[in-house]
Each structure stands twice: as C-alpha cells, then as structure tokens.
C-alpha cells in the first residue's frame, strides 16, 4: 500500500496524476517531512505503472524539491512550508478549472460562481457541525 | 552441456514410461514365446498357436515402436510453431541430439539388452550378441527412420496422411520391384501372383502402416478424444489378431508321417568288412562342409573302390536329459553317411560312446565296429553342466539304405563329457560345442528323421510325398525365394493335402512351395554361405514326367517352403533316397 491517496484515471498522463497526488498528499499532511517515500519499484508495482514512469515521477519530485534522496534510506519527503497557502491553492487548480468550464457552459458569470461557492461552503460547514 | 540432453531424455522417459514398459514387456514376452516355440519344435509338439503369437508380438512391437518414436519427436517438434522449446535456450542441434538419445536409449539400447538376454538363453556367444543386436538395430532402425522422417516433416494432419500414404506406396513399389526381379529369374512366377499376395497375403504389412497412419492422423488432428484414439488402436489390433490367429489355426502342418516301413521285396544287406578305420588304400575319412558335397562324393566317389559300396545313411536322433530335470528334453539330430560293412545289429548292440561334434562336419567314414555318433548340445549352459554331471541320453538311430530302414534305439544314463577325443586327423574333437550362429541353430535343433518307402505310384499325393520324410517341422525363415535360383516346384495344398501343381506360387498362404532339385542344395551352413551343386533342373511337361524323373533320380531333395502371410518362406527338408538298390544289397538281420 502506498502512503498517499491516489486514484488513477484513464486519459490523463499517469505521471502528472501521480505528481499531483504526491504533492497533494504532502500539502494535506498525509506525507510528512522525513517520511520514507516508496521506492521506484514499489511505486510501479503498487500503481501497476511502468517503472520508467515511476522513475520519471520520482526524479521530478526530487527536482522540484518535494523529495530528497538520502544515501542509505532512499527518497524521503522534504521539508515543505505547509503554510504556503498559495501552493495549496494551486493544487485546487484542476478542480477549479473544471468548475469554471461547467459554469461557463451553464452561462454563469464569475460572480455567480463565487456566490455559489460561498453557499456550498456554508452548507458543508454546517453539516459538519454536531 | 550434455546434462541438458540427459535432462530431456529423463523427461521423455517420465512422459512415456507406461508405453515403454508395455513395449519392453512385449519384447520379453516375445523372447519367452520364442523359447517355448523352440522347445516345442524339439519335442515335436505342434506349435501352430505359438507361431501366430510370435507374429502377433512382432507386429505389435513394430506398431508400439512407431508410436513411441512419434511421441518422442512430437513432444519437441522442430517445425511446430507452438512447440514449447522453440523459444527456450536450447539449440536445434542439441534438441535433435536429445531426441536421438531418447530414441537410442528407449528403442535400441534397452530392447538390445532384452534381446541379448534372449540370446544368452539360447547359448549364443558374445560375438553373436553383437551380430544379433546389429541385425535387430538395422531392422528397427528402418522403422524408426521412417517414423522419424514423417514426424519431423509434417505438423498438419493432411500432410501427415499424405506422407504416410507415400511411405506405404513406396514400400509397395519396392516390393513390386522385387517381384519383377523374381518374375524374371524364376520361371512361371507371375506378376499376378504378387498382386494376389498383395491383397490377401499382406495384412500385417498393410496393418502396420494402416495403424500407424491412423494413429498419426489422430494424433495430429488432436481432435479425437483420448479414449476414442485408444479404442481405435485396440480395435484395429484386435481385428488383426483375430485374423492372424485364425489363419494360424487354419494352417495345418504336415502331419507326422507314418513311420512304419512298408514291405517290399528288396532288402538291405550289408556285408561285414574288416574292422578298420580305413578303407583299402589307406583312405582317410573326409569331412564335408555340407550335404551337397557329401552327396556329390557319394555319387562320384574319389576312389573307385568305393563304387558300388552300399551306402548307409545314419541319422541320429538323440535326446539329452538330466535326471530329475524339469525342463523338456532336447532332441538333436545329425547326419552321417558312411559306407562299409557293418551290421546294424552291431551298431545297435554296441554301447554307443557318444561324443559331440560340431554341426556341419559331415563325415564320410568307413563304418565298422564302433561308431561314434555326434550329439550336439544346444547351448553353453548344457556344455558346462555336462562337464559336471553325466546326462541321460537316448539315441534313436535311423539307418537307411535303398528302400529300407531300420530304427534302433540306444540309451545310456551316463553320457559324460569326453575329454581327449580326437578327430581322425588328430585335432581335438569338441564335446558339446555351442551353437555357432542363429542361422544354424534351428537347423541343428530341427527334428528330422527319414523313412524310406517305395515309390510305387505315379501321382504325387501327399501320401507319396510324405513318406519321403517323417516329420517336417517349420522353423525360422532362413532365406527368401530370391535366392532360389532356377527351380521347379511342387505345390502342396494343406487343406486338400495334395500335391497339385508343377508350378510355384509364391506368396500364397495356402500353398507351400516345394523346390525340387536334382541334387540337394544346402542353403545355409555355419559359414553363412549358400552353396548349391548340381545341374539346373529340367522342365517337366506334366506331373507324370516329373514323377518319372523323380523315380529315376538319386538323391533328390525336396524343399518345402512354407509361406504364411508375410512372404517369408521357411524351409523344411526332406530327402528322397535312391529308389534303386545297389546290386549287392542283401537282407539285414536285426
């Protein structure tokens, strides 16, 4: 089992999906600083993806500073400023894009969308209250 | 890596062990049957059913061999694109070596060992083991090669069927060539006879190919269910067995001839001669390699003094047995011809000091006083045994000359190894020499005895023919018709028991061929050379002419060739003895 959530959907490049899932996991705290990141082999076996792809993903994560390779242990989650709201908000990108596309189809304006967001947010927050 | 080859051979064994066990078991059964067969020949019991069994075994062996070879090759087929080994690290050369190793081990080495065991039992020497195995390997090798070729040439059923048909017709073609050759060398041998034989006389050959054909097709079709395949093969074999067995049963051998001598007015007399081992002129006895030489010498003796000598032909039928032995007694014969004055009573009454002599050494010796009669032991075991403990021996001595014959019996309980007996020329005479070759074996152990009867008739019915021999036993095929040269034949029909034709009819299972020659010809001797002597036969206008000629001819040898289904003749010997007595023949008193 992998220490982060991921659901691979067909159609989108797998590498991108994995990158996204890892980054999200780091930001949401699923992957904490210092946690051992699965090896390329385990990544490829668990996700049933091409090891080349897994390798590319890990390389990219290291490049971007999300992971750090240590000699004995392997890849380890790097320290990341969790407080960076901007980074986190960026992760919302694809979802927002989809929502905006749908809104456009429905002929809504940006203000309409914002209002709807606020409304839905309240609903969900309320329902989570005991 | 030779270990890879061995690895594959082991795997093939594990795959086919059941078939191999059945087949090897069959080979052992064949050996046992052969042993029984020979025993029966020796003790003069009818062995017709065994004969059938032997042929059955031989053919089942052949079929199973083909199935085994095919299975070995098919498990790693070189041309099948679905074959497992094709994408595995083993070269085609090495795989072929492995397949050949499997075939060699299962189909040659192990059966060779079984055959060697069989030959050991019959007392062959080491040299003969090798020869026997080589012979066996050659025959098997042909079959194996055929199957291997077919198995590696094709992978689809249709191709397989065509190839097998091709092989079958190739064999028919070979046989046809043989037939054309025969028809050119043997008068009145017609091509029609061959085709008659083809339809009625070849069930076994047809069946080998037919069965293998069907098996192969089914195997390659892969469609027939396993049970169906097995049922078909068993069904075919069963049908064939029944057919073969039936024929073996229907075939009736020459019944034992009537051995009571007929009365006639001419009697035999032999006047006593001085007891000497030599004749006038210090003639030393000669040894003849074969009967034809002997008879030729009898006809044209070197020494004029021997003309008009009364010829006595002695045949000794000796039976060797150890007291308390459960095994059947073995009968032997040997032929000695001699001349000279000895009264048969002397022969009879004098205790026979029996010594063994090698077969084939037919001695013409002056007969007087004591007479040594040769006894041949069948195999090396008996030789060893007789050195340790004396055996019982019973000898029936047939003495014949002219029309008459006498039978005398002598027995002793102390037939012992005789050391130090020498031949006349001083060379040591062996006691209990083992059979020196398989070719000679059956000859040696064939039972033959002769009774003389008058030739008073014109027709050649069985009764006329039969009295010229006492008991004819078929034994192993020694030759085939091709070696016969120019011959005329009598035909003997088993069913009607009549000699009917003057023309040969090769390959017909109902008839025996009889080759009539003016002088006896021995086809087999221990040197494996065929020898013939005498002028070519004459053509006879009809049976009467043949009969007349026979009446006036000395020493005619009748050869009966027994042909069963497989176009393999078996020879039996008979001897016609002179119908004219020498002038000085007189009565013999017992």
């Amino acid at each position: 089992m992998l220490p982060f959530s991921i659901e691979i959907r067909p159609g989108l490049p797998i590498a991108e999906q994995v990158l996204f899932a890892v980054k999200k996991a780091v930001v949401t705290g699923q992957l904490r600083t210092g946690d051992k990141f699965p090896s390329v082999r385990i990544l490829s076996q668990e996700l049933k993806i091409n090891p080349n792809t897994a390798h590319k993903v890990v390389a990219q994560l290291v490049d971007e500073g999300v992971l750090v390779t240590t000699p004995a242990v392997g890849s380890v989650v790097a320290a990341l400023a969790l407080g960076d709201k901007r980074a986190r908000a960026e992760l919302l990108g694809p979802e927002l894009e989809r929502a905006i596309v749908e809104a456009k189809k429905l002929g809504l304006t940006a203000e309409d969308v914002q209002a709807a967001v606020a409304a839905h947010w309240r609903k969900l927050s309320d329902s989570s209250k005991p | 890596m030779p270990s890879l080859i061995w690895h594959i051979v082991k795997r093939d064994f594990r795959h086919l062990w059941l078939w191999l066990a059945i087949w090897w078991g069959l080979l052992v059964a064949t050996a046992v049957t052969v042993a029984q067969f020979i025993q029966r020949i020796l003790t003069q019991r009818p062995e017709g059913d065994l004969y059938g069994w032997l042929w059955f075994f031989v053919l089942v062996d052949a079929v199973v061999l083909m199935v085994v070879v095919e299975a070995i090759l098919k498990s790693d087929s070189p041309i099948d694109e679905r074959a497992f080994w094709r994408t595995r690290p083993i070269g085609k050369g090495r795989m072929l070596a492995a397949k050949l190793a499997s075939i060699g081990l299962f189909c040659f080495v192990v059966p060779g060992i079984i055959q060697a065991g069989e030959r050991m039992i019959f007392g062959f020497s080491m040299g003969e083991f090798f020869r026997g195995i080589v012979q066996f390997a050659i025959v098997e090798g042909l079959l194996v090669a055929l199957v291997a070729c077919a198995a590696v040439l094709y992978q689809r059923t249709v191709q397989g069927l065509l190839i097998w048909l091709g092989i079958f017709f190739f064999f028919v073609f070979l046989e046809a060539v043989g037939v054309f050759y025969l028809s050119n060398t043997i008068e009145n041998y017609t091509v029609a006879a061959f085709f008659i034989g083809l339809t009625s006389g070849w069930p076994a050959v047809d069946l080998i190919f037919g069965t293998a054909f069907v098996i192969t097709a089914l195997m390659y079709a892969g469609r027939a269910r396993r049970v169906g395949k097995l049922a078909l093969v068993c069904g075919l074999l069963l049908v064939w067995t029944i057919g073969e067995y039936y024929q073996a049963r229907v075939y009736s051998y020459f019944p034992a001839a009537d051995s009571t001598p007929r009365n006639n007015t001419v009697k035999l007399s032999v006047s006593p001669r001085p007891e000497t081992n030599k004749l006038a002129g210090d003639y030393l006895p000669s040894y003849y390699k074969n009967r034809s030489q002997l008879y030729a010498a009898m006809d044209n003796p070197t020494f004029p003094e021997l003309k008009d000598t009364v010829w006595l032909i002695y045949r000794v039928l000796s039976r060797l047995q150890w007291p308390g032995d459960k095994s059947a007694p073995i009968d032997y014969d040997s032929l000695v011809a001699g001349a000279g004055g000895i009264s048969p009573s002397q022969l009879i009454n004098a205790p026979a000091a029996l010594a063994a002599a090698g077969y084939g050494r037919l001695a013409w010796e002056p007969v007087s006083g004591w007479r040594d009669f040769p006894v041949t032991l069948v195999n090396g075991w008996q030789l060893e045994r007789i050195k340790k403990e004396p055996a019982q021996i019973t000898a029936q001595i047939y003495i014949a000359s002219g029309h008459l014959e006498r039978i005398a019996e002598v027995s002793t309980n102390s037939f012992a190894w005789q050391d130090g007996i020498t031949n006349v020329d001083g060379s040591p005479r062996q006691t209990g020499a083992p059979l020196s070759s398989w070719q000679d074996g059956p000859n040696r152990i064939c039972v033959r005895s002769i009774v003389l009867h008058d030739l008073d008739g014109i027709s050649l019915s069985l009764d006329e023919v039969r009295p010229w021999y006492l008991h004819l036993t078929p034994f192993w095929p020694q030759e085939n018709v091709r070696n016969s040269g120019n011959l005329l034949y009598l035909l003997y029909n088993h069913q009607t028991q009549e000699c009917v034709e003057g023309i040969s009819n090769g390959g017909n299972p109902e008839f025996d061929l009889a080759f009539v020659r003016t002088q006896p010809t021995v086809y087999f001797n221990f040197n494996n050379k065929t020898e013939s002597a005498g002028p070519p036969p004459q053509a006879f206008a009809d049976k009467k002419a043949l009969t007349d000629w026979l009446k006036n001819t000395r020493l005619v040898e009748l050869r009966f060739v027994h042909t069963q289904n497989f176009y393999v003749p078996v020879t039996m010997d008979a001897y016609l003895l002179p119908s004219k007595l020498p002038a000085n023949a007189t009565d013999v008193k017992h």
């Binding site: 691979i8 159609g11 076996q45 090891p51 080349n52 | -």
Partner: protein, 305 residues
C-alpha cells in the same frame, strides 16, 4: 540500442499477406504495446520475431541479433508468453518448473518461490487440469524466473479474469528493472496496457498505422465538445485532423488529433464563433477507437517508424 527492430518485415500465407512491410522499432527499456484488431497481424509479427515463423521478406533484429539466427544465448534473455504455446500437459506445475530451470543460468529460485506463492499456483496439479488463467500464470512464472531482458507477451490477458490479470501484471513488474528491461506486449486489453505502456503501436491489416509515445498521444488527442451558438451552423470545411465528427442538435463532438493548448481553442472560436468549447483528454481506449475507425494523422515529430 533497440530491443527490437524490423525492416520491411513481411509475411505471406499463400495468397494472404498477413504482415506487410513492417518497420517497427522498440527502444530498449521501454514498454511497447502493440494494438490492433483481430487478424491484424500482431501474433504473426511476434512469431516472426521469435523465429517461429519465417518472414517472406524483410528482416528483424531482436536484442541486436537477426531474428532468424536467434539462439540459446538470446533465448536465455527472452521471455515469450502466448496462449498458443504447447505446454507439456502431463507435467505438474512443479515438474514443469523443475524442467525449465536447468535451461537458464540466471534462474532465481527465490523469485520462483515468491511468484509461486504470489500467483497462488497448486504445484502438484497437472497442467492439463489447470484453468486457463493458471496456465498462463504458470507459463509466465516459467518465463519471469530468470529475469529476461526482453519480455514478449502475445495477447497475455485474453480470457483471463481481472484477478488473474492483476496477478499477471504484478508478476511482470516484479522482475522489472530500469534500463535494459523491455516489454513488448500485444493486446486488445487497452486498460491494462495503458498504465504500463510508454510506446503504442497500432497495426491493422498487416500494416503499422501508428507508432508513437503514449505521452505524445495523450497530449495531442482531445475530445472536443462544441455547444454551438444560435444561428451558427455546421461548418462546411473542417480541418483534416478533426475526426469522428458527430452532431445532434446544437451539440457537435469530434476528436481533435492535433491538440495544442490555446491553438485549438482559437481554431474552434474561428469556426464556431461564440460557441462553448470544452476539451477533455481521452483514455487510450478512445484514442485507439478513433485511430482504428478513422485515418490517423500521424504526428511526425515524436513518432518512431
């Protein structure tokens, strides 16, 4: 170095040309998926590569060696799995593995044990009594245990249930290694292949219609949905690289085979002024269908022929 390279590879059965002048390249270290309909010539191609069939024309090189000269050295590094292989039915699984082992120097007994457990194979059962899935797993085991450099899989998933397929892929990945480990797989089963492949080849009626990196395919294919503005009708001329045109009411759909972010939207705006345009990435299955049905317009730059 290329694991597999063919030049003008052709195979002719009597009248039928099953494979026609194929130029295929499989780079070392890649996972190459060969897709195509039934009878397209995938199996024939693979059989020629494995020297089970003789090509009528052309050449193929496998692991640097002419395919017709493949010998024990090469086969020790190749693992070939196909449903059509004749396994010795009378052997048990264990006997079969024992039989295979001595052929390979690199046979890893520990790996064999691991895979045997992973695949949940009954070692004492005869092969003829195995289900189809177990047969394939047994064959795969016998091929993975020596860690081949090149795995050639001919329709490995056909007729296998999802559990077995999963086992299969796990097994294959078990021996994966970076660098020189190449997989050449032909399949109908595109979902399974999509995750693993980095190269995709499409073969149809014996010809290689397409050979491209999966990334590149995924980048350039989009399903475009256009909700046309009122008054705008169907354009009479559409770009050749728009395939699978469908229309119903105001909705127009097609597959864009040369997607470029921004450019495509601009083109759509030109042709459908005022329309609502959405572009969705396509799963490989849809890409394949689109290619199989239409004439694929190849992307010259990133494809390997």
């Amino acid at each position: 170095m290329n694991a597999i390279e063919t030049t003008g590879l052709t195979c002719r059965f009597r009248q039928l040309e099953a494979v026609h002048s194929l130029d295929l390249t499989v780079p070392a270290g890649s996972v190459y998926a060969l897709l195509g309909p039934n009878g397209a010539g995938k199996s024939t191609t693979i059989k020629m590569l494995m020297n089970l069939l003789r090509p009528t024309a052309g050449t193929a090189r496998v692991l640097g060696v002419d395919s017709q000269k493949l010998g024990p050295t090469e086969f020790a590094r190749i693992g070939y799995v196909a449903e059509t292989i004749d396994l010795p039915e009378w052997m048990t699984v264990r006997q079969f593995l024992d039989y295979c082992r001595p052929f390979y120097k690199k046979w890893d007994v520990e790996l064999e044990k691991t895979l045997l457990k992973k695949f949940d194979l009954p070692p004492e059962r005869k092969i003829k009594h195995l289900s189809r899935g177990m047969r394939m797993k047994t064959l795969l085991l016998s091929v993975l245990a020596y860690r081949p450099d090149l795995l050639v899989l001919d329709e490995p998933f056909s007729g296998l249930d999802p559990v077995v397929r999963d086992d299969f892929i796990r097994g294959v990945l078990e021996v994966s290694s970076l660098g020189n480990w190449t997989v050449f797989v032909s399949s109908h089963d595109i979902e399974e292949v999509e995750r693993l492949a980095d190269w995709v080849g499409l073969i149809d009626q014996g010809t290689l219609k397409l050979a491209e990196k999966l990334d590149s395919l995924q980048q350039r294919f989009r399903r475009i949905e256009i909700t046309r503005a009122s008054g705008i009708s169907t354009p009479t001329r559409k770009p050749a690289h728009w395939q699978g045109w469908e229309e119903a009411g105001a909705l127009t759909r097609f597959v864009e085979t040369r997607y470029s972010s921004g450019e495509t939207e601009k083109l759509c705006a030109e042709i459908f002024p005022g329309a609502n345009v959405t572009a969705q990435p396509l799963p490989l299955r849809e890409i394949y269908l689109s290619l199989a049905r239409g004439d694929a317009v190849p992307e010259p730059a990133s494809s390997l022929r």
